[in-house]
């Protein structure tokens, strides 16, 4: 089953202005349910732009993105937020955590927007912390964690809503080799959970991983 279908997608920043920049050129891509896909390319090639479009963070200049047979390219802002909340888990290079809060409080954040019972919330948080291998630090403030622990906390937060799609933008850029390998281990868990994972990276550690279904190279906004 096709999870994500991208048709003739273009993204131009500052159209019709002197600083016009074409970030994506005529992208056509189909991603299967449960597929792990690595987007490779140098900085500025358009990987992050593609992720932000799939995550409905920004809108394309033209073309369409269909997720679960629904076009998300034209969703109004309020519905985009609901789509992101329900369907997408984001993992960022800079973690984007709330430093003053504990690991658990950060992971709970997406659940606070739902009407789940306290019991359900506790269960989901525990599960996410276990998958991300950060349960032992659950009461610690994020500000006191190492880079690798912060990334694992970010992973727990990304998966606590049990999204079907996980988008990771340069997830190991701020990690050392050991923590990067730990992250790759967690990816294997995602595979076993049948999550659709799209990772934008230029880290060579991601090359030739046996559980990755596909590698796509992006260069100057186009798939090569």
């Amino acid at each position: 089953m096709k999870k994500i279908v991208i048709k003739n997608l273009n993204k131009i920043y500052n159209p019709n202005k002197a600083n016009e920049f074409c970030a994506l050129k005529n992208i056509n891509l189909e991603i299967e349910d449960g597929e792990i896909l690595i987007l490779k390319g140098v900085s500025g090639s358009g990987k992050s732009t593609l992720l932000s479009l799939i995550g409905a963070i920004s809108k394309p200049t033209n073309g369409d993105i269909v997720v679960n047979e629904h076009s998300i390219a034209k969703l109004p802002d309020i519905m985009s937020s609901a789509y992101r909340h329900k369907e997408i888990g984001f993992i960022f290079q800079a973690f984007n955590l709330l430093e003053g809060l504990s690991v658990t409080q950060n992971v709970i954040a997406p659940l606070s927007l739902t009407k789940m019972s306290e019991e359900e919330v506790r269960e989901k948080v525990k599960k996410a912390l276990l998958i991300a291998n950060i349960e032992h630090k659950k009461d610690q403030k994020v500000a006191h964690l190492s880079g690798g622990e912060k990334q694992r906390c970010a992973i727990a937060r990304a998966i606590v809503m049990e999204p079907n799609i996980i988008l990771a933008d340069e997830p190991t850029a701020n990690l050392d080799k050991e923590n990067s390998l730990l992250f790759i281990d967690i990816l294997k868990t995602f595979k076993s959970l049948n999550k659709t994972v799209i990772i934008a990276t230029h880290d060579i550690l991601f090359d030739n991983l046996d559980f990755v279904d596909r590698y796509i190279n992006i260069q100057d906004g186009a798939i090569v």
Binding site: N10, K59, T61, N62, G63, K74, P76, M79
Partner: protein
Amino acid sequence: MSIFLSNEIIVFLLIELVLIVLMSISQVNIITILRHWDFNATTVLQYALEKKNYLINTILYFTIVCKIILFIFFVKSLDALAEIVPGAMCCAGVVGSNNYGNVLLLLKILIIFGFGIWIIINKLDLSFVSFPYLKQKYYLFSFLFACVILEAILEILYFVNIPLTVPVFCCSTVFEAPKLPFGYTQTMLVIIFYSLFSAILVLNYLKDAMTSFTCNLLFLFAAYYAITYFFGIYVYEMPNHKCPYCMLQKEYFFIGYFIWGSLFLGVFFGISPFLLEVLTKKHYTKMYRYSSLCLVITVIICTFYVAKYYLLTGLFL
């Protein structure tokens, strides 16, 4: 002194000008949107139109809410003008000082009703992904925009023709001989008022859109006369003071704003379901309860003044 040097009129006309400029910008863009809109297309033009649509919606929502608030300011301004228009004691004198006043006021009320409908359709339209009522709401706005231009012309004509040297007639004219429509008596007017009110409550409960629409319009007409020629005299506690505007003044605790405000809101919510059905081909029954609530408030306030007078004096006026 020119009427255009009055503080209220300067402020009113400046705000009106800004709102008309914003609406004109929106109207130009609306024409582009209506000509090229195709929601299923994934072209550069369609995405640009969708962005434009959000911007226009925001501008229009802002201007329309401002316009509704400006209507209240307009009424207050007319009240204030009574101080510089010779012979005028309240809005009645200022509104009736030339032939444009009453037409302008009626047009303003109709435009406010139209904008109210627009706000509801806009809210419905934005609650769907595919903007199903986009064309209807923009055609409605285009019509209302034409009315706003007409209103602006009437405003200028009205203000220019307010006499500042010749005394105007005010409530004195209505002191003389109350003119009721179709030769009705006050008793008959009150019976019609309460009968229509009861009928509307039943129809609102039954959610009968078309009959409720008709009854609400009739009630608006009957209520105007009933409030001016019957309930008003109990508000003023003077049997010959038959004025719809004086009750807006401080001396009467601004009660007119509550009476007329709840009446207009009640009628608006009563007629909206039918108009929305015509425009969107769907049923909207939620507004009936607001209609009933607002009209109950109108009737309670009106009845309170009659009851209070009777309890204090043992007499009816």
